[in-house]
Symmetry: C2
Subunit: 259 residues, 2 copies
């Protein structure tokens, strides 16, 4: 049992009997992010790697541009709050508030938003071998201890095409991605030759996050949406779906996935 | 092929070959909801049952209380926008904007929000037989044509414990729930003796939506989070997880699931 689970009593019922058992559930906690004392967002997340989550969220929203923009990070885990101090991007916060008022859960990070229409396409000559990509995907299947315990989280991983560099899981698909982006932002990791692997579907929101951070390839065990593929064509991202066992579907920029 | 899919060209790659095939992707479209001319939210959704989605969203957010509060609904599918006119609940919009500014994707519909702390617990003597519940769950597995075609959507169903009354699928878990809640709201269906069945995880957000609408039982093939179970205890909701084939786990108020 990791500290990211809660042990609960559960009645396991079948048609003719009922057993009282113990079960492990994934924790889900709110994290409220403050940027220069302003309340920005409350995310519901797996309570681990919270600095990375907050930094990744602000970076993906273009509210901070470089690591040097951050002057202080203070996390209060008990309160479920994190305060980040730093240099603000003048327009970003205004646009962010506009976006969140008008988009809610869907997060609307599509070209229907002013800011996103300005994302430059990812330019990268990075390639990965299809066999390598499939074995990386199988590796992340095995990596998530929390998933194996609870069946309730999404796993994301960053790879250079050779090995898994980083793995994060979270009850929220977006959070798992933000945690990886946050670590890369803090460590100054170049993303132009990296792959994001995810256990979840590829929606337009994840696609835009990946494009904004300049990652050329996203791979999922599951399906992309039609809108994600359409945006990927415009934003220069290679979308690989249904990456399972011995095959995968490459929807866009297939020249980056080589034999 | 339903009209909710897009046919795309895809390269299916294995280690030693690459085939050009056609694949069907689930559509993902933005829907902007206006209430009395004010822009409320843009959801990314499967473009079907959009009136139900908009009404269900406003109802679950307590911005409308009864069907009679709605005086007009106008949908422009091409623009991806819907206008609802009606009687506003005085505090709801203010609280909604507050909530969305401060919570974003997590939607923060937990007790960390003022409004949610006021939800009355669900009081219902409704019961369902465990065998019936398991066969209903298998039935919704078969129902989703869109899932079978695309692998990319969540299915939700409403049942009276005997049969499936309504089934909706959507690329967003919350949307599938809102579509069902919206139909019930428009048809004046009593929810105190109904069950919501879902293919997705039970997070705190879905749990609160269900409690707000007064549904006593939620069932998933997948896992609940620890927070969802904690909230269910306070809000009088029976949480059933891992409902698969011959067994299920009952986390709260197990007296509603009988032999």
């Amino acid at each position: 049992m990791t500290e990211l689970t809660l042990k609960v009593k559960v009645e396991r019922k079948t048609i003719d009997k009922s057993d009282l058992l113990e079960d492990l559930l994934a924790l889900e906690s709110p994290l409220t992010i403050y940027f220069n004392e302003k309340e920005i967002v409350t995310l519901l997340c797996t309570p681990a790697f919270l600095e990375e989550l907050a930094v990744g969220f602000l970076a993906a929203e273009a509210m901070i541009k470089t690591k040097e923009d951050i002057t202080d990070i203070y996390l209060d885990e008990e309160k479920g709050a994190i305060w980040i101090e730093g240099v603000e991007q003048p327009m970003a916060e205004k646009m962010f508030l506009k976006r969140y008022i008008t988009t809610g859960c869907g997060k609307g990070t599509t070209f229907y938003n002013v800011l996103d229409a300005q994302i430059p396409p990812v330019e990268s000559n990075f390639t990965v071998k299809v066999g390598k990509l499939l074995s990386l995907m199988q590796e992340i299947q095995l990596k998530s201890e929390l998933f194996q315990e609870t069946g309730g989280v999404h796993g994301n991983a960053l790879s250079n095409g050779e090995k898994i560099l980083m793995f994060r899981d979270d009850i929220g698909r977006h959070n798992a991605t933000d945690k990886i982006l946050g670590r890369c932002f803090l460590d100054g990791i170049d993303l132009a030759d990296k792959i994001l692997l995810t256990s979840g579907r590829i929606s337009s929101e994840i696609l835009i996050k990946v494009a904004k951070m300049g990652i050329p390839i996203i791979v999922s065990r599951s399906a992309p949406t039609a809108l994600a593929v359409k945006l990927a064509e415009k934003l220069g991202v290679t979308v690989v779906g249904f990456a399972r066992a011995k095959r995968c579907n490459v929807y866009t920029f297939s020249e980056r996935v080589i034999d």
